[in-house]
């Protein structure tokens, strides 16, 4: 236990200090951290799932608070919670299937309704789907036992003591399964580039002209995959001030033999009329299909829309955030240091100027992210295939359970 705490603290520090760059790295490290948390967690004899969920939530809460803008952290925490629930559910349904304890379930069902009224139909459906039994007509008709099982498994602080006898047999199995599944998740995160890149040839044709902004590993792999398949095409890279990650991307592309043109961000509008497709990475994808992306992306998306150029967003599934954005430009954004824009030394004399009230005359605004509304996005390409923005909510329902949408009980920041 103490060593996990140390790990957690270390990771928290990194998050707070923004030492971890990129949502993929963050996601992977979060998943690894949670894996070790789970493996260290002492499981009580009863209600193992509940204990695991509590432990993960407690840590997840801290992690999210450490960097509320890095949505990948919350995503992974929720994914892990979802995994725990699913594993538990599958075990439970197996048990139920074997023992057919419908009466007990019914009783518990009442309890749970009192305690946890936030169950949504979506969660029920997800749970139903994830059980080994497909939703046949019969299961729909005999709805009661299934739905009974769901609340039981998903109750967070649940004190379901009914099934103690059954669980003893699978107590060790749950933790093992969960860790197994988290490993799979980590694997997914690590390999999502490849899975996305595999689809590249389906989207890039010969002599295509592609524009991208900033740098994204996913985009790089995607373009390179197409290049490897002997497609020849040109890439315009907008440099993505103030971080100028575009330079990095351009360098990588050139190193791999792609025809690359580096342009300033201001030239995006001028050049986009000659571009066939915009392919960009994302920081996070919201449930409504909106995209949180590096600053400047909205500009590109608007220009693309004006010229009817497809705007394609590449996003690994760890970037899918189950939340709906509210005022994302402000709430899901952070302001970076003005020194990226202005040299303090250069402007120190001006900055001293202040009106009588003490408010300075000069403000420097340097946001880190942009929000691209779903209507500007033509297509999402995830490791689960291509999807419309309007479908993202459904995709998200596959990865998360509705109970976990709100990880923090008290604080609202970051959610």
């Amino acid at each position: 236990m103490p060593d996990t705490q140390a790990l957690v603290n270390d990771f928290l520090n990194k998050l707070k200090k923004r030492k971890i760059e990129g949502s993929q790295a963050t996601a992977r490290q979060t998943a690894e951290l949670l894996r070790s948390v789970i493996s260290q967690q002492r499981v009580p004899y009863t209600n193992q799932a509940g204990a695991l969920i509590d432990a993960v939530k407690a840590i997840g809460e801290q992690l999210i608070a450490a960097n509320p803008v890095e949505l990948a952290v919350g995503n992974i925490v929720r994914r892990v919670l979802h995994i725990i629930r699913e594993e538990d559910l599958s075990l439970t349904t197996a048990a139920i299937g074997g023992l057919n304890l419908s009466a007990v379930s019914d009783d518990e069902n009442d309890d749970d309704r009192d305690g946890d009224s936030t169950l949504s139909a979506a969660a029920v459906a997800a749970a139903a789907r994830s059980t080994l039994r497909p939703p046949s007509l019969q299961t729909l008709l005999e709805d009661t036992p299934v739905s009974a099982a769901v609340p039981q498994t998903s109750s967070s602080g649940g004190d379901s003591e009914g099934k103690t006898a059954d669980k003893s047999s699978r107590s060790r199995k749950l933790k093992h399964d969960v860790i197994e599944a988290v490993n799979e998740l980590i694997q997914d995160i690590v390999t999502c580039h490849e899975q996305i890149a595999e689809q590249a040839v389906e989207h890039i044709h010969q002599n295509e002209v592609i524009l991208t902004l900033g740098s994204s590993r996913t985009v790089l792999e995607f373009l390179f995959a197409a290049k490897e398949k002997k497609r020849s095409f040109r890439v315009f890279v907008a440099e993505g001030a103030p971080r100028y990650q575009g330079h990095l991307l351009a360098k990588e592309l050139v190193a791999r033999g792609l025809q690359t043109t580096l342009i300033t961000d201001s030239a995006v509008f001028a050049m986009i009329s000659r571009v066939n497709m915009v392919i960009v990475g994302a920081h996070a994808v919201m449930a409504n299909g909106g995209v949180i992306a590096p600053v400047g992306m909205n500009l590109v998306a608007l220009a693309a829309q004006k010229h009817a150029v497809p705007f394609v967003v590449l996003a690994g599934s760890h970037k899918l955030c189950p939340l709906y954005p509210h005022n994302p430009e402000v709430l899901l954004n952070e302001l970076r240091s003005p020194s990226e824009l202005l040299d303090f030394g250069e402007f120190s004399d001006c900055m001293d100027f202040g009106s009588g009230s003490g408010s300075p005359l000069l403000h420097v605004v340097n946001p880190a992210f942009d929000y691209v509304p779903p209507k500007l996005v033509s297509l999402f390409i995830t490791d689960a295939g291509g999807h419309n923005p309007s479908y993202m909510y459904r995709l998200i329902a596959d990865y998360y359970s509705a109970d976990d949408l709100v990880v923090q009980r008290r604080a609202t920041a970051g959610n």
């Binding site: 040109r234 315009f236 440099e239 993505g240 001030a241 103030p242 100028y244 330079h247 990095l248 351009a250 360098k251 592309l253 050139v254 190193a255 033999g257 792609l258 025809q259 690359t260 043109t261 580096l262 342009i263 300033t264 961000d265 201001s266 030239a267 995006v268 509008f269 001028a270 050049m271 009329s273 000659r274 600053v295 400047g296 909205n298 500009l299 608007l302 220009a303 004006k306 430009e329 954004n333 990226e340 824009l341 202005l342 040299d343 250069e346 402007f347 001006c350 100027f353 009106s355 005359l361 000069l362 403000h363 420097v364 605004v365 340097n366 946001p367 942009d370 929000y371």
Partner: protein, 709 residues
């Protein structure tokens, strides 16, 4: 008022009247309106003025009718409505009498005379307007007057050598209209003028035969300037006009000339042979922009600097300016244009015509060589192109009879006037207009650094308006930083950000003010790269976009994208980020075959994104740009030339000065410009009047006479 207006109409000596008012239902102004080829023919421009006199509307009618008119047979006295013969006004004071007299004259008088020799006739005609009415001074006037008895003379250039002078009174038509409008309205408000025009039209239709009056004032104004220069100029111009008419027409079709395409190898070769600067081709040229010059940057400057003392073909002043362009010390449309013109001024001052050559030819060639040098240093901006066209046409207009020193003095003052009126005064007018669009509590966003916008912001601040400024900047020039510094120094509250954050900052913005390098006639705003992005986002947020641009930067070219014509900057400034040593990813990579660095300088903002264009002619929608280009584009300059009292008070006798700096040219269709209260025109004493009732006229010798309405 009436008298004044009428006088105006009467006055125009050079106006070519197109004639059919009587028979044709077309309002006379239409026919007249035909603007001369803006570049070449000053007289035509003058001619258009009569149209104006009819309708003081700022925007003249379409030209086609005029063309048809031009083709009219000379003979047709019938064709033209008989203008009332104007009585020459004897005294200034007698307006009313004159007017009545004018109106009374019989319509039957024949206005049109075919003239065998265009030159001579025209000279007479031109002189006539000026002198004809003036009682004492006009020598030539009498001759012309007796013949037609017309108040206004319009010279129509027939294609080759034949000029028809139609004299008609437009004053009549215009007069009724004008009574209603106040002076101030006329000059300042386009709308008012438009209305007036409409009215005028109507009137013209109703009473085609009405005669115009000559009022004393008009007479005065018409009075030919005593200097022979003017008349000579006119003659020359008219001459040219007659001869060149068809040529000009052809040229019109081609205008604007196709630009140099740098992917045309043979032409590039030719160009290279000529050029002083020997640029080396950039290594990795951007494929899409092969048609633009892409040369190695940074190599020419040292070479040129070393050549400074070896190049005798170039005037040092021009040379210096070229170097400044090259090094980027001078940038911005206005600054570059002014620097260039001033260099030309110096060059002209030091110029002497070689033996056996004529000044106009040789000087034009000289200027052309300067210009091509400047192009080598940096491609011309549209504003500079327009200024050069102006200068060349001025040179071409110089009569041969003029002595060299006089000609040089004329050109000097012409250039001076161009700078003052087209740039400095225009900016003042723009500021006046734009400030009305700033309210307390506004958050104004601007992009890059536009001199006009800066003046607007400062002026609004001086007026005590409470507003905040958002300065959006972009790589690689970071011009916004300089603007930021200046504004903060002045005490304006500023927010600074970069162009990627535009959608973040746009939430709080209420107005967007943008500068422009040029406004093209399809309404496209050609400006610093990134302007289109800003306008697009503002449009998306439903925030008004106001583009501030002096009218001399308007151009009749059209453009839909930013690719076909543009300018490329130094690619190396893309790969390096000054002040950010950590951004060095491209060090060493920029030599790679596959990497191209594109540093666009301009982009084209579609007119949909532009709510308003603020020019010296007022605030117009982008759809009105072609109107300004066509009717005021370069023709305007001629009007200034004829009557700008600032430069030569004697030349234009009908300018009206007001205390607040406004100048009104009653006889021209140009309505307003400004003089500087701190720098009054020579000879202008404290007789300036309030705009309400009084005004001042200028006597021929530069003395100003107080004049009361």
């Amino acid at each position: 008022m009436d008298s004044r207006r009428s006088s105006r109409a009467v006055i125009d000596p050079k106006v070519r009247q197109v004639g059919f008012f009587t028979s044709a239902p077309l309002p006379p102004d239409r026919t007249q309106s035909d603007p001369p080829d803006p570049i070449r023919s000053p007289p035509l421009a003058d001619a258009s003025s009569p149209g104006n006199s009819l309708s003081p509307v700022m925007i003249p009618p379409p030209r086609h009718p005029s063309d048809s008119l031009l083709r009219l047979p000379h003979s047709p006295s019938d064709a033209f409505p008989p203008p009332s013969p104007t009585t020459t006004t004897t005294s200034l004071g007698d307006f009313s009498d004159d007017v009545t007299a004018a109106s009374s004259p019989p319509p039957a008088a024949a206005r049109v005379r075919g003239r065998g020799s265009s030159v001579k006739q025209q000279g007479a005609a031109s002189s006539f307007p000026g002198g004809g009415f003036e009682v004492p001074p006009s020598v030539k006037a009498p001759s012309s007057v007796p013949a037609s008895g017309l108040t206004t003379v319009s010279v129509v250039k027939l294609p080759p050598g034949i000029s028809v002078e139609v004299q008609s009174d437009r004053a009549l038509n215009s007069k009724p209209l004008k009574e209603k409008t106040s002076k101030a309205e006329r000059r300042a408000i386009q709308e008012a003028q438009r209305a007036a025009k409409a009215a005028a039209k109507a009137e013209g239709i109703k009473t085609p035969a009405v005669t115009a009056l000559a009022n004393a004032k008009s007479a005065k104004s018409t009075k030919p300037s005593p200097q022979r220069n003017d008349s000579a100029v006119v003659v020359a111009a008219s001459e040219k006009k007659g001869g060149d008419r068809s040529v000009e027409k052809d040229r019109k079709k081609d205008v604007p000339h196709p630009r140099m395409q740098y992917d045309d190898k043979s032409r590039v070769q030719k160009l290279k042979k000529r050029s002083v600067v020997k640029p080396t081709e950039a290594r990795n040229r951007v494929e899409l922009f092969r048609h633009l010059p892409q040369y190695e940057h940074g190599t020419q400057l040292p070479v040129l600097q070393s050549k400074f003392f070896q190049l005798d073909t170039l005037h040092p002043a021009v040379y210096k300016v070229g170097l400044q362009y090259l090094s980027g010390d001078i940038c911005g449309g206005n600054a570059r244009c002014i620097a260039m013109l001033q260099a030309f001024q110096e060059a002209i001052r030091d110029y002497s015509t070689p033996p056996a050559k004529t000044l106009s030819r040789d000087l034009t060639a000289k200027i052309s060589s300067y210009v091509s040098f400047l192009i080598d240093c940096r491609p011309l901006s549209v504003s500079m192109g327009n200024a050069i066209r102006f200068l060349k046409s001025q040179i071409a207009k110089i009569p041969i009879s003029l002595s060299e020193s006089e000609a040089k003095a004329t050109l000097h003052s012409d250039i001076e006037r161009f700078i003052n009126e087209k740039i400095i005064l225009a900016d003042r007018v723009i500021v006046k207009h734009a400030v009305t669009k700033i309210r307390d509590g506004d958050v104004l966003l601007t992009y890059g650094s536009s001199s006009a916008v800066e003046m607007i912001l400062q002026h609004a601040h001086e007026l005590g308006k409470q507003f905040r400024v958002v300065i959006v900047d972009s790589r690689p020039k970071h011009e916004g930083k300089l603007l930021l510094r200046r504004l903060v120094r002045k005490g304006l509250s500023c927010t600074y950000t970069h162009i990627n954050a535009i959608s973040y900052i746009m939430h709080e913005v209420t107005r967007v003010f943008l500068g422009a390098s040029s406004v093209l006639s399809n309404g496209t705003v050609y400006s610093r790269v990134g302007t289109a992005c800003v306008a697009m986002v503002a449009y998306g947020f439903h925030i008004p976009v106001l583009v501030c641009c002096e009218a001399y930067k308007f151009h009749e070219r059209v453009q839909l994208d930013s690719i076909c014509s543009n300018e490329l900057g130094d690619p190396d400034s893309i790969s390096k980020v000054p002040g950010r040593e950590d951004i060095n990813h491209l060090d060493g990579w920029d030599k790679s075959e596959n990497l191209q660095l594109l540093n666009l300088i301009y982009d084209a903002t579609p007119s949909d994104y532009v709510s308003l264009i603020i020019t010296d002619y007022g605030m117009i929608p982008p759809t009105s740009v072609p109107v300004i280009v066509r009717e005021y584009g370069r023709g305007q300059l001629w009007i200034y030339e004829e009557c700008d009292p600032l430069a030569s008070p004697g030349r234009c006798s009908d300018a009206v000065f007001f205390v607040d700096g406004l100048i009104f040219y009653p006889s021209q269709h140009l309505v307003l410009s400004f003089w500087f209260p701190d720098r009054p025109p020579s000879g202008l004493n404290n007789d300036l009047l309030e705009r309400s009732d009084n005004f001042v006229t200028v006597a021929e010798n530069g003395n100003f006479t107080n004049f009361e309405l």
